[in-house]
Symmetry: D4
Subunit: 216 residues, 8 copies
């Protein structure tokens, strides 16, 4: 398993990460929210207690890449993490469609790539490792506008991870595998916010990428 | 305009109709909710005050056709309406996909047709007129499972209206016209519950079918 | 229809405009309140979606012309509107009668005319168009003191609109037409705040003045 | 002063009497509400403490004569009063105008007279004395529809009081005297519910009719 | 009646005056609290509406003379009154007995006299008239410690009123007259805070001192 | 110490006993309220843990002897106590003075003696021991009406305890000793409800009567 | 993996199972609580979506075996499960120590064995499989009274599972493994209620016993 | 009894002292919380009212020695006490075990000794007397990690008290005596926060050390 003993592991992103975590730090009993960040922390500590890994959920509901970047120094760098995981971008796309009259808050593909690169290069030198996770949309029509647009953002996540040698998690693929057996309506009212099963699917995809061994 | 002076007009359905109407009767100032039922009532009274039309919103959030049928006697017939308008069916389909483990609450196409027919035949003899409105889904991918399934229910609405000579409103078509210019995300978080614009689109489609004249 | 594609249209005034709109901006789903501003926005977007008109409700309950003027820069000019609509004055009169011991908060006819003129001249140069709407009182006794006094303010609205070539809406006349068929008690507890029907009457009067075509 | 020592005096009516009195009995410290019933009780006890008069407020907001009659046995007769005062009727008229679609809840002049007579004849034999007070409307236009209609009900109060030799209080006249100096807006948002000054005006009119001596 | 037309009359003191008045000013409908200040205002306006007297309740629960003095500029002088009425002192005594460990908050007879004199001399020059009311205690044992101590403060009120020719109200005497017929328990749980009857007794004593005529 | 090992000890009475105890049983952690019953339980268990005494607080705010008697079977006998302690009577007197218009709820000396006797004789046969405590009033004027009346009730408590050989606690004397050093205002706003010091004084008086040894 | 496709799997027990599940059924999105039942459901559906397993959490905070037995028909049998898992007993022991005065609510070892046997024999014939899980205590002192007593109950679980060929889960052992690396204080304030890590440890122990394959 | 007349006695510490005391000062009726500080104050005033001892509870839930030291000037020295009692340290140990990932908030034995010494030497010169009380843990296994670690802190309390000649209270010993007869579960859910019996045990231990005489 890639994460070393005594590491501090910050998981950040938007509402899919946040899930009701405590403020100012999503850190400690009852403070990690109810989503994949909590499940990842639970699994790491349940299976590898001897490593004493310290997980902190720093997700923020509603964030686009722009807000994440604005709070990066305070919410990530100042906490001196050893590992960082990021899943961001669904709001970059959503705002383009649900707030059509407000182009000033839309985050373009170009800005997304530049910001992601800036976050990685500012952080990577002081880390043991970094994880990039694609944002995802549960709708299964590949040509649907949200899904199609978001795929472009996911592609940038993949390219950035490859370029900098980061751990890459294709959450879209992990979710799609589930939807071979259920419709998206079984998991979500809006095809964006997953239920507990989605939380586990994402946590499992993240843990697999970290070479976590359930039978350890 | 089809609705005669002093008529009592009951508008019923599910949450798209309900929109926070008062209990037990959605009738009077502040009691009609915030959706198309309120807008229809407002337009009828604003433009045809001399007709003194009495609109009552009897929508119930969460209803499938089965629940609507169960409360029909109490919520519709007992009120002795002159006109009745019904839009039902989106939950008949939704439950099939969001509650897959509970087939006992799914309403099939067969049950839908039978129930709609029963409601119409039980009510029509004592009415001046009756309106059937299709349920709708805002997603624009025609092959998407929810939309495709719902289209079957909408087809039954059309056939039933034709068979019994009812006023027919194709809300799906009215909504689709709007989505030639906006994505569904601009109107709704879940592609099912419309905002105020959707309320006006539905009210206008209903009013047009009633031969309402805005410039009266 | 007078309002051009992609226009930002600010509707402002007192509680008759406000109707529970969101703060700081009455802008977006669920944010436009429940009155004529919301209905106007709904109708514009439902009937002319291809124009992508952006309506913002900036009404403020309790405002007299004096308070409206004090927030004009921040609430209107700073938002860079293309169109502005104003209905103000009922509180200018009401305070004269319900707070008789506080003459310092009464707004006289002279102040009213001067302020309205100042708002118009400060704003008009940067607009595509501007709408002035009369305030109204529902009581039908023309010699009743509130109604009679308010008529003087409404006359100034008319004169100002004519002087500057603005779109003029006689809401008092639109409301009075309704009260040929109902008493004011059917619409309002205080003859000042309209129900949903009154909201639609005002919206329709505004839309007519804008040459809106319901059958577009 | 007409009310004898140790008398129980029940004051009943609608919201003008109720004013937030306690349930089930408006009786005791902090329980008499904030209106004329409380002020009457306060004045009787402050000026005639040696009489130990026991005032109970049994007003009920929203009541028409019909509801008052339905609760008369439980709320008045069962309490075995020595004196009873009644002011009812404003809702009998109001419902005719604010609920025009619901004629089944309108109380006609005929029903009003019959009910008032029935209440008086059922109660008078066991009383020391009974007071009838007219309902009132603050609007000063005598031909205005609410005021004009209500005057008919007030006339029945006067006739009934005369016929049965009851103490009669013309609250409409007492209020009108005040409005020679203020507009109704200074006292009320709806011309129906008085403020503390109105409460004192009504209490004083009632006390004068009872031959209360302020300088006792 | 001493108070002239168009006068502003500020009534101030502690919780016996306050009684839940509005902040920052106890002025207008529903804003005068439920005690003698409201009743005084109600009676002045009900009986002398032609004088348009403007009553403001500026009582503050918990105040001793020290706190009253500290807010005098802001709460009294800045409002430019024509008449001022003060009842203060019960907390000056109460704190001596309920907070025995905190002598720093006890207000002595000497401080009381000095402060009262200072308030009078700072205010009187700009007034039409000023009223001093004694504080009171409902317990009827003249040698009881609270009552006995408070009597000393009441004596200073009397002397100060005489010295400066102010209107003097002996509220203690007015209350004691009532307790010839009832025990204090009928009016108050703590012998300090009066009920509605006590409010009327105090208002009547104040009005009598002002030569108010109930039959005006 | 009189109370034997494993005894169940029910302490009952009015609000002086209740002090916010849990419902339906004042029994267990956080359930005994904040008054003398809790302090007695705490002292018994802290000093005599080897006896495992089970204290239950069954006080009920507002109770007179009449209400206590009505719930005696359910609240005392059904719980099969070994010891019972009762302090009741202050409301028997209070109601005579704060509800003068309601003689039907006043409990006379005769009824008090009869009820107390009935409670004792119905209970004593199945008990190890029973305690009667006088009600008390904090005012120190012996001729004050409440104090004087209550003394009569306290005398009946003493006589009943003597007649039946019960443990007797003179709480009035215990409280008076304290008021040699403080005024009643230091302990209570109404001279009836004691603070924590009063709770300890009563608990200590009760424990002394039970021959409790603090240094055990 | 032992649980077959389309199985209904009821997980029941006390607060360790409940964890805030919905009422009446802990079934569906957001309804499974935050503990091991939710995590087990999430893992089964995330890893084996093709089996469509339907998990229902029927835990009830505060239950001893006695309460569980009382609701077994309604909460388990009536739901017609295919699989049932039970973890009960910690309150059977806790009540012996935190409610020492109430032996009537203590559940003895004998009653525990009898009840568990009754639940198993009543249910097993209609099931595909049944799971028994030991209750656990986090304190690591084997001779500590709670832990030692609870071990006796755990032994009965083991024996019952063996006797009836049920799936057995030694949660005490699973938890103890974790406490080789952390003190109990890191997981729990009371050594009874686990945090999210404990939830995952229990879920993993249950899943392992069911031959769940994380890498499926 | 050691505490002299008119002394101000500050009792401070963590949540065991705090118990819901008022802010900013735990001083006066209803303000001392529900724990040993309140009971100590109650007993001192109930038994020695002639001394007029002024007890103030300045405990703060959650405090370690570090937080206590930070607020010492404001919360203790600025109040100019004559006597001070301190019980601190349980959180110094607890944080080591429940927040293992946050060593920066753990208070070591060395820091504990140094801080305690600093508080004593800064305060003692201006005092009549000072009390040090050991922190305690209710678990009875002497080798259990929390208990064992805490014993080290208690030993420092004892040594510091001896070194400076302070009054020493061994609360651990006082509590242990109780647990010869009950398990810790009867008193506490977490073995740290005592119930009312524990409050009395601690108060009695403190009072004994102060040579308080219950029979005074």
């Amino acid at each position: 398993m890639k994460i070393e003993a005594n590491a501090k592991f910050i998981i950040t992103g938007d509402s899919v990460t946040d899930c009701g975590r405590a403020r100012p730090y999503g850190d400690g009993n009852g403070a990690l929210g109810s989503g994949y960040a909590m499940m990842t922390a639970a699994a790491l500590d349940a299976v590898y207690p001897e490593r004493h890994i310290h997980v902190v959920n720093m997700g923020q509901s509603g964030d686009t890449t722009r807000e994440l970047k604005a709070r990066w120094q305070h919410d990530v760098l100042d906490l001196k993490p050893d590992w960082v995981s990021v899943m961001i971008g669904v709001n970059d796309v959503w705002r383009q469609y649900d707030r059509p009259h407000h182009p000033e808050i839309h985050v373009s593909l170009e800005e997304y790539r530049a910001s992601l690169t800036e976050l990685v290069t500012a952080t990577l030198p002081s880390l043991s490792g970094m994880v990039l996770m694609t944002p995802f949309y549960m709708g299964q029509e590949k040509e649907e506008i949200f899904r199609k647009t978001l795929a472009g953002y996911g592609q940038i996540v993949r390219e950035t991870a490859e370029k900098y040698g980061l751990v890459f998690v294709d959450t879209q693929a992990a979710m799609d595998a589930y939807f071979a057996h259920y419709t998206p309506y079984a998991m979500s009212g809006d095809k964006i916010h997953p239920n507990h099963v989605g939380g586990m699917i994402i946590a499992r995809a993240l843990l697999k990428a970290l070479e976590f061994d359930w039978n350890h």
